[in-house]
Structure formats: structure tokens, C-alpha cells
Point group: C2
Chain length 313, copies 2
């Protein structure tokens, strides 16, 4: 089903992530059918949408968007009936996902894409029990799905290219920033990066090297202020001063050997060095270091003000 004709979305699983998707699709003006086997699912879902709605209203609801367009379905089959896109957000349990995706697949029209919110399983291992696995893809959002734009899209070995492309196009249509991965990597991209940081943080707490509060302050008042405007690569492109990433790697490269984290660094080969430098040049897309510094400075000031106001309420 072409993504432009979708008017109804089915959300299977209505916890924090599934409920966040429900709120997002409602705000985007869709009919939404939710299904979750938990006995208190309907009330929890209502509280989740309650919590999200002020933010979505502030961002601007699409024409026709209404909370009244949510139906909590009594069965899985009822939820997917007539849906043009299915988003599965069940708990992170491989056997459960394999069975649930097969169940969804069995009752959903064959031209409808079914996307899984899985945080890290590959679709290859999840689609094994489905009869029509070609329309199954990963569509991994970030919490909360109604605010954070990123969605990582990846197919499994049995997924069809049309399903991957349609999922990416559909997410873009509903305002998402999409990364389509051409290979399956456990944890995809953002969760691998986030997980490395999280594990180092847990090691530090376990070893008495930092408290929970120090770890959060180190990020919110430190590198975290740069990351919404420039990712880790462009950040270090600027750390190199006028010489950019090339100077940074040639000058600070040896610190990769320092015991600054428990994660071993890769060998900084000429190929890796050149790939990172070229990637930064591509991404800078003609902006000089001075342009990027000015952009970062404007953004960091505005981010600090925004956070200060949000904390004051």
C-alpha cells in the first residue's frame, strides 16, 4: 500500500514506546487502533497520551488530528483491520517478538508494511515465523517517539526492498528523520553509541569512580550541550581548531591509546583517518570551521536558555 494512502495506523503494544507512537500518529492526523494484552493497557495508554498531548499541541497538530480518533481494539485482528501501516512495540524478548510478528503477519493485508520498534534485534532473527516476511522491517524510534525525530530503518534477509523504502517514506511523511541502514548491526547506530556511554557509566558507578548525579551533570553541562547541534564527528572536527578533523586525529590520535574508557580503540589506520576526515568534509558541505564555530556557539547559547526555561516550567 503506497504510504501516501495510509489513513489508519495500528499500534501493537502500548507501553512507553507504543503509547508514544500512538500519540505521534494521532497528532499527525491519523486514525489509530491500539492493542495491548495487559489488563490495564487502556488506562495506561490514556495517561501516556495525556502526558504527550501538551507537547504535541505546542508543536502544532495536523488538520483533523484528534484524540477521539484513537480506538483501543479488543483483539489483534480488530486492530490491524483496515490499517495501512502497523507499528509493533512489544517488550524486548526475541521469542515473544517472533511469535507476535507472525501473529500480526497472519491477520494483516499482505501489502501493508509491519515495522518493529525493537531496540536492537535484527529483523532477520525476528521474521523467522512469519508467512509473508518480506513486508517486515525494523523501524526503531527514540523515546519519546512523539518528539525525537530519529527512526532507524533496516530490513532482514527476507525483507523486500519495497517494504524498507515504503517504511522510510512513511516515516518521513510523518515528520521523522530517517536513517536507512543497508546492513543489520545489533543495536543499529544510535543505541550502539548510547550503549557504549551507558556501560562506561555503569562501570564508573560500580567502581565508585562517579555518582549517578555526577555522571548526569557531566553530560548535561558538558558535551551534551553540543550534541543536538553537532554530533561526535563534527564536534571533534571543531576540536582540531583551524586544522579540523585532520589536525585533531594527527594531534590527539595517540590519546586513543589512553585508558580513558574500558572500550578498546580501533587501530587508527591511514584508511580510517582518511575516511573520518573525508566524512567530516562531506558533512560540513562547504561550511568552514569558522562557520561551524559560529553555528555551534549560537546553538549552545540557545540550548542553554531553552533548558533553563524548561526547568523553570
Amino acid at each position: 500500500m503506497p504510504e501516501t494512502t495510509v489513513d489508519t495506523v495500528a499500534c501493537i503494544g502500548a507501553g512507553v514506546i507504543g503509547g508514544g507512537w500512538v500519540a505521534h500518529f494521532l497528532a499527525q492526523g491519523f486514525d489509530v487502533r491500539a492493542w495491548d494484552p495487559a489488563p490495564d493497557a487502556a488506562e495506561k495508554l490514556e495517561r501516556l497520551v495525556d502526558a504527550a498531548w501538551p507537547a504535541l499541541t505546542e508543536l502544532g497538530l495536523k488538520p483533523g488530528a484528534s484524540r477521539d480518533r484513537l480506538t483501543v481494539a479488543a483483539t489483534l485482528a480488530e486492530a490491524v483491520d483496515g490499517a495501512g501501516f502497523v507499528q509493533e512495540s512489544a517488550p524486548e524478548d526475541l521469542a515473544l517478538k517472533q511469535k507476535l510478528l507472525a501473529d500480526i503477519d497472519a491477520v494483516t493485508a499482505p501489502d501493508v508494511v509491519i515495522a518493529s520498534s525493537t531496540s536492537g534485534y535484527g529483523m532477520t532473527e525476528m521474521q523467522v515465523a512469519a508467512k509473508t516476511p518480506e513486508r517486515l522491517v525494523v523501524g526503531h524510534p527514540f523515546n519519546p517517539p512523539y518528539l525525537i525525530p530519529l527512526v532507524e530503518v533496516a530490513g532482514g534477509k527476507l525483507s523486500a526492498l519495497w517494504a524498507v523504502e515504503q517504511a522510510a517514506a512513511f516515516y518521513r511523511r510523518v515528520g521523522k528523520s530517517v536513517i536507512t541502514m543497508d546492513r543489520e548491526v545489533p543495536g543499529f547506530i544510535a543505541n550502539r553509541l548510547q550503549e557504549a556511554l551507558w556501560r562506561e557509566a555503569l562501570h564508573m558507578v560500580a567502581n565508585g569512580e562517579a555518582t549517578v548525579e555526577q555522571i548526569d551533570l557531566a553530560i548535561t553541562d558538558g558535551p551534551g550541550l553540543r550534541w543536538p547541534v553537532q554530533g561526535p564527528m563534527l564536534t571533534f572536527h571543531l576540536a582540531g581548531g583551524e586544522g579540523g578533523m585532520a589536525h585533531m586525529l594527527d594531534h590527539f590520535g595517540p590519546s586513543l591509546k589512553s585508558p580513558w574508557t574500558r572500550l578498546e580503540a580501533p587501530e587508527l589506520t591511514k584508511e580510517l583517518r582518511d575516511a573520518v576526515v573525508a566524512g567530516c568534509d562531506d558533512e560540513a558541505d562547504g561550511r568552514t570551521i569558522a562557520d561551524l564555530v559560529a553555528e555551534r556557539d549560537r546553538a549552545v547559547i540557545a540550548i542553554q536558555r531553552a533548558v533553563g526555561q524548561a526547568r523553570r516550567g
Copy 2:
């Protein structure tokens, strides 16, 4: 020298970090004396202050603040003469830092604190050649030092408590957010977290798992949007839904065993689990999950708008 009587700061080393410190102290209304052995240091420093000044003006200069209060000194001794605080920001080379800190120590009045901007060396290993090592401490900033509030302060084995406390008080006086560490950990806190993420990113590029641009987009449009308002710990406190960090660890704990990064996870013992849960409760400081969700949502919306405006210029 009590930090409240400091009116002149010496900045030794005037690259990206040293020059950023110069701009910060000028904007805070100090006389600043800079020294750097590079032949083109004065011109580079002028360009650095040029680049920083619009941001500092926008933030608000302190009374009396003026770029005219910068002197580029001809010698190290001239730079520290009369200075009430010394900030060293030389290249990251242990032997160089040991010698330079001993040289600064030899010409600086004995009651003046000398702080090193080192990104990861402990003061214990850097202070070995100094005659009065007790006033030497680490004062590690983040790029750019004139905008990012975080400074990590840590003494070495021969540092005196008064020097650590005076450095922390001085940085707070000049608007910084200070973490005082009671033990030396290579890379301190923020750089260990940032370095784990950076190394995972380099591995992904080296293995063709993600491009430089995908890595940056995964952060700027994903978890990076949350980190200025809630660090990694509070972020996952909210990922647990109404059950908070306790539910998150009990539910997602097993994913610590997933191959989501090359960094091995610590054992999630009951002690570690309880320490992280208690730390989040302390940090939440009475704010419910619903309060934190509302605060995060307001902040993420404002951060996205701020970044969008900064990019448009």
C-alpha cells in the same frame, strides 16, 4: 590567594582551549595575560577571541569586561607576574606538561593556584617536577571553554585540599558548573563517557557499519536531543515508564548482555542496581516521572527550535 581577590588571570598556552579560556576570562571582566611559544600565537589568539566575542556579547559581558584587557606576554614569567590564578592549556603531552608546570611553578607566587586544562592526565603524574606541587590541580574544561559550563576539578597526591577548594570556588565565581572529583580517574568523568561513544563510532566507521554522517545524524536527531536536559541516568529513569529506573533495570537489564557495543557491560549486581536506582531518586529530588516527562518534553521542543534557528543563522 583567596579567589575573590583575583583580578588577573594568566593563560599559558593559547590554542583552541587556551584561547577559549582567554575569551571567557576577558568576558568575565578580568585582566588576562596570555603566553604561548608558537610564533603565530598572537594572531591565532586574536582570531579565536574574534570568533568567541559575538557569543560572549550575546550572553552579556561583565562590568568592565574588555578585549583591551588582554596582554600577550613575551615570557612565561611576565605572564604570571601579578596573576591571581593560572590556567595551563598546553598540548596533551605528559613530558611537556611536567616540564611546563614545573616552569610555571618556579615563577608563580606560592599562594596562587595553577590549574591544568589536561583532557585526561592525572595531576599526580604531572606534578612530579614542581617544587611547590601542592597548589597544582586539574581544571578540565570543555570546548569551547567560554560557553560549556562544565569544569572537572581534581587534585593529585601532592595537591593540597585548599588548592582544590580554591580552584572550584574560583571556577564557580566565573560561572562554571564544577564537579570536584575525590579520586583520579584517567579521562575524569565526561571524557570517559564521550570517549566510549567516540571509540564505538570509530569502530563502526572502520567496519563499514555506519558513515560519519549517519553517526552524527543518529546523535543530533536522536539521544543528543535529550542530553542537555537529562543525562544518561535520568534518561533511562524515564525509559522505565511509571516504574522509573527500577523497572528499566529489571526489565531491560538483560540487554546489557546484548552485543550492542564492543564495550563489555559490568555485572548488574543487586548493589549496582540499587545504587543506580537510589541515585536517580536523589537526582529527581521529589520530581515524579510525570514531572520529568513534562520537563523533558518542554526542553526537547525548545532545543529543536533553538538548533533550527541557529542553523539558519
